[in-house]
């Protein structure tokens, strides 16, 4: 019995222990969960007391030093793109609000608000974008709402920033005035839109022009240093740690001439600004001897004529298209070089302007009617830009072996995209025998400028080859890479190909000169320098959307409208070519026609006339018989004796007056230039009422 009772007690005790253990386990588990939750809460919402926050900061900080991006310079060193920081200005409107509220200092709060109103007046006067009341409303309203990041102004430069820092409230520093500056480096283009497509830009994924292609030179290398805080709370370089200095980017000196670019831009705008049918225009000016591009203008409007002209796209490099009659020069050069045309006066039968399989040329009918002749010279065919003449010449000369003609085209580098300083030069399309686009009329159409698509840069390069007597230079835009004014990499002119003999080039130049004298470009006849060149008018192939459904005519839409391209390409002075010039204009869909002999030729004339006045090479000279007054060196004022007339002969007016007046004498003068005579003579004394008289010439 007692044993049974003992066993029973033991079991009862064990159960009680189990229960206690169970509840204790629950308790500790719950405690663990609570601790865990508490820990997570502390970690998630951890907010260090502002009074001790500095204790958690490292005593040294890494400071990254950004390099200054290199400049893009014009050929004479004038900057076309430079880097400078701009500032976005914000304001913490709540600055000192809590402090005044804690102290109950209503008067201080009122004073702050009064200064904010004065600040508003200053901001309004400086930026002129909002009234003083608007600024005051924004700042004081922001203070009431608790705005800590109110935008004041974006993209403020250093000079304006210095002014803003002297404004009421802001002059008290950022802790009291609440001004927040956010600095960002920006590219500044001093000439606004001038050559912007050539210069280009680098912005995130958008990278175009020289900025993109020479980014590796312009960018530079970042540096860093470690800084520590001093006892006086200013940050200084930590001398115990390593320093890597930032290396600024190199400068790029281009071949562009700002004056040429300015003149070309203005001349093109003048021609196309008033005409709403013109969508875009291009000017390329290239130095004949080197291929250096002195100007490249790419002006275009947006989708509608109402949009302003701007450098939107680099059409000179990307606008692949049939160039029209300017390509007749390609045919003429090949024919003369191969000996099929022995003389420009050589004649061919007119055949009423008709050649089998080709469209009849009405210019020939006009010619026959006017002259009564049944033959036409190659020269005259070129002058009037006859399609028939060039079809006839190509078919009769190359009809049995067209490959020879296309070999010429490839040797003129008109069949490929050559290497250029800006990426994106489009590849031409040439339909040579055996290709998909070849037909029995391709030879003739190519000979007069259709059936082959090239870019304006290709055309200008080809004409430059003729101007340079057969040596076709590779066009280039970058002359050198420089570091602190010292050239570290020089790019020299290079030859793309020798395209023809000197005699052939001279013969073709004579034909091009004749186009200006008596042909389709007579608007250039009176230009101040003789120009040799060729006009071209081409219809642009329309897209399927522009043509409309079911319309098989590639050049007209359903309403009969077309897109035109008018061009003039040539060089000047014709006697000794120095520059090659190309001007092209492109129209919207229009019922009107645009010819190379009108707007483009007028633009060329404007440009040639202005370049003539600009370039000292074509100056008139004064012979040695002219006399120039002898100038005298010396420091003005050193030879003056009070009351005595000083010797001022040979001096400019400013220096002469300074000397005479330093001697305390009255003076009068006539003429301009330098003092050639003076009265009374130097060294004499002036009588009562007399004055020193100077004659300047």
């Amino acid at each position: 019995m007692s044993r049974n009772s003992e066993i029973h007690d033991t079991i009862e005790n064990r159960d009680r222990i189990h229960v206690v253990m169970f509840f204790m386990s629950i308790f500790f588990f719950a405690l663990a969960v609570l601790i865990l939750v508490w820990t997570v809460k502390i970690q998630a919402g951890f907010n260090v007391d502002s009074r001790v926050v500095h204790l958690f900061r490292p005593s040294v900080q890494k400071h990254v030093e950004a390099p200054v991006r290199g400049r893009i310079l014009a050929t004479d060193g004038r900057p076309m793109a430079i880097s400078a920081p701009l500032y976005d200005l914000y304001m913490d409107c709540t600055v000192r609000k809590e402090e005044f509220a804690r102290k109950g200092d209503i008067e201080a709060e009122q004073q702050w608000r009064q200064k904010a109103r004065e600040l508003s007046r200053s901001l309004s006067a400086e930026f002129r974008d909002r009234s003083a009341d608007d600024y005051a409303q924004a700042i004081l309203g922001g203070r009431d709402r608790g705005s800590r990041y109110l935008l004041i102004k974006k993209n403020v430069d250093q000079t304006v920033l210095q002014k803003v820092l002297r404004f009421p409230l802001f002059c008290e520093g950022s802790y009291k005035g609440g001004l927040i500056q956010r600095r960002h480096d920006e590219r500044i283009y001093p000439y606004d839109s001038l050559a912007r497509r050539v210069i280009g830009y680098v912005k995130d994924a958008n990278r175009i022009g020289l900025e993109a292609n020479f980014d590796y030179e312009l960018h530079g290398t970042e540096g860093y240093e470690w800084r520590r805080v001093t006892d006086r709370k200013s940050w200084i370089r930590d001398l115990d740690s390593s320093v890597v200095r930032a290396v600024d980017g190199n400068d790029i000196r281009t071949t562009l001439n700002v004056d040429f670019q300015d003149i070309a831009d203005k001349a093109l705008r003048k021609q196309i600004n008033g005409d709403d049918d013109i969508r875009a225009g291009i000017v390329i000016i290239m130095e004949a001897a080197t291929g250096a591009i002195r100007a490249m203008v790419n002006l275009s409007r947006g989708d509608t004529p109402q949009t302003t002209l701007w450098e939107r796209e680099n059409l000179a490099l990307r606008q692949v298209g049939e160039q029209g009659s300017v390509m007749k020069t390609v045919s003429l050069l090949s024919l003369v070089e191969d000996g099929y045309v022995k003389s420009l006066e050589q004649t061919i039968p007119t055949n009423n302007g008709a050649y089998p399989n080709y469209k009849q040329d009405i210019h020939i009918l006009d010619y026959q009617r006017e002259t009564g002749r049944r033959d036409i010279s190659v020269m005259h065919g070129f002058e009037i830009s006859s399609n028939y003449v060039f079809t006839y010449l190509a078919e009769t000369s190359y009809g049995s072996h067209p490959e020879d003609f296309f070999d010429h085209i490839y040797s003129y580098r008109l069949g490929e995209a050559f290497d250029f300083d800006i990426s994106g030069l489009a590849s031409p399309v040439v339909n040579r025998p055996g290709t998909k686009g070849w037909s029995k009329t391709t030879l003739g159409t190519t000979a007069y400028g259709y059936g082959m698509s090239v870019t304006p840069l290709h055309v200008a390069t080809f004409y430059n080859g003729i101007a340079n007597k057969g040596r076709m230079m590779k066009p280039y835009l970058v002359e050198s890479v420089e570091k602190d004014g010292r050239v570290i990499k020089q790019y020299k002119p290079s030859v793309l190909n020798n395209i023809c003999s000197r005699n052939t080039a001279d013969t073709v130049t004579r034909a091009l000169r004749s186009v200006v004298e008596t042909g389709t470009a007579t608007r250039l006849k009176g230009a101040k320098l003789h120009v040799a060149g060729k006009t071209g008018t081409a219809q642009v192939v329309l897209s399927k959307e522009e043509r409309g459904q079911g319309n098989r005519d590639p050049y007209h839409d359903a309403l009969g409208r077309k897109k035109n391209q008018g061009s003039f390409v040539g060089f000047f002075p014709a006697e000794n070519p120095k520059y090659t010039i190309l001007v092209s204009v492109y129209s919207y869909l229009s019922g009107k026609s645009f010819y190379g002999g009108t707007l483009p030729a007028l633009a060329v004339r404007d440009i040639v006339d202005q370049l003539y006045a600009l370039d000292g090479e074509w100056d008139s000279s004064i012979s040695r018989s002219g006399s120039v007054p002898a100038l005298r060196s010396g420091v003005p004022g050193t030879e003056v004796k009070a009351g005595k007339v000083p010797d001022v002969s040979g001096l400019g007016l400013k220096e002469a007056l300074h000397l005479v007046e330093s001697a305390g004498l009255p003076c009068s003068y006539e003429g301009c230039g330098h003092v050639t005579s003076q009265s009374p003579a130097a060294g004499s004394e002036l009588k009562q009422g007399e004055r020193v008289k100077l004659v300047l010439k």
Binding site: R78, P79, I82, S83, A84, P85, D157, Q158, T159, I188, P190, Y191, D192, L194, T230, D231, R232, S234, W235, I236, R237, L239, V258, D259, D262, I263, D265, K266, D609, Q610, Y612, A613, L614, D615, G616, E617, W618, D619, S620, S621, I622, S623, R624, S625, G626, S627, V628, A630
Partner: protein, 114 residues
């Protein structure tokens, strides 16, 4: 060593400190010059350290000032370059009502001896 001995030594030392006799009791007067020299060295170290900090702060401020001047120079240069372009000059002349235009003939050059 007994604990009582250590306690007595501490007690005596504390009494000596209270009475201002501690340094004399340990015969520190013999080391007086060395102590002064040590303090001088410490003072020089701290002084030089502060001067270095001060110089580096100045150098930092100067660098910031130079950078600011460079920026202002770049911005001024850009503004002046823009004013120098032929079309800007012509526009300004037209606005001012001036009859002066860009030259239509190249400048004459004087050749030969004077």
């Amino acid at each position: 060593m007994k604990a009582a001995t250590i306690w007595n030594a501490i007690k005596n030392s504390l009494k000596a400190i209270r009475n201002g006799e501690f340094l004399l009791r340990i015969r520190a007067d013999k080391l007086y010059m060395h102590i002064l020299y040590l303090f001088l060295l410490m003072w020089i170290t701290i002084f030089l350290s502060l001067k270095v900090d001060e110089t580096l702060t100045k150098a930092g401020n100067n660098r910031a000032a130079i950078e600011e001047l460079e920026v202002r120079h770049a911005q001024k240069e850009a503004a002046l370059v823009k004013l120098r372009s032929a079309s800007s000059i012509q526009e300004k002349l037209e606005k001012m009502g001036s009859a002066t235009t860009l030259p239509t003939e190249p400048a004459s050059r004087i050749k030969g001896r004077r």
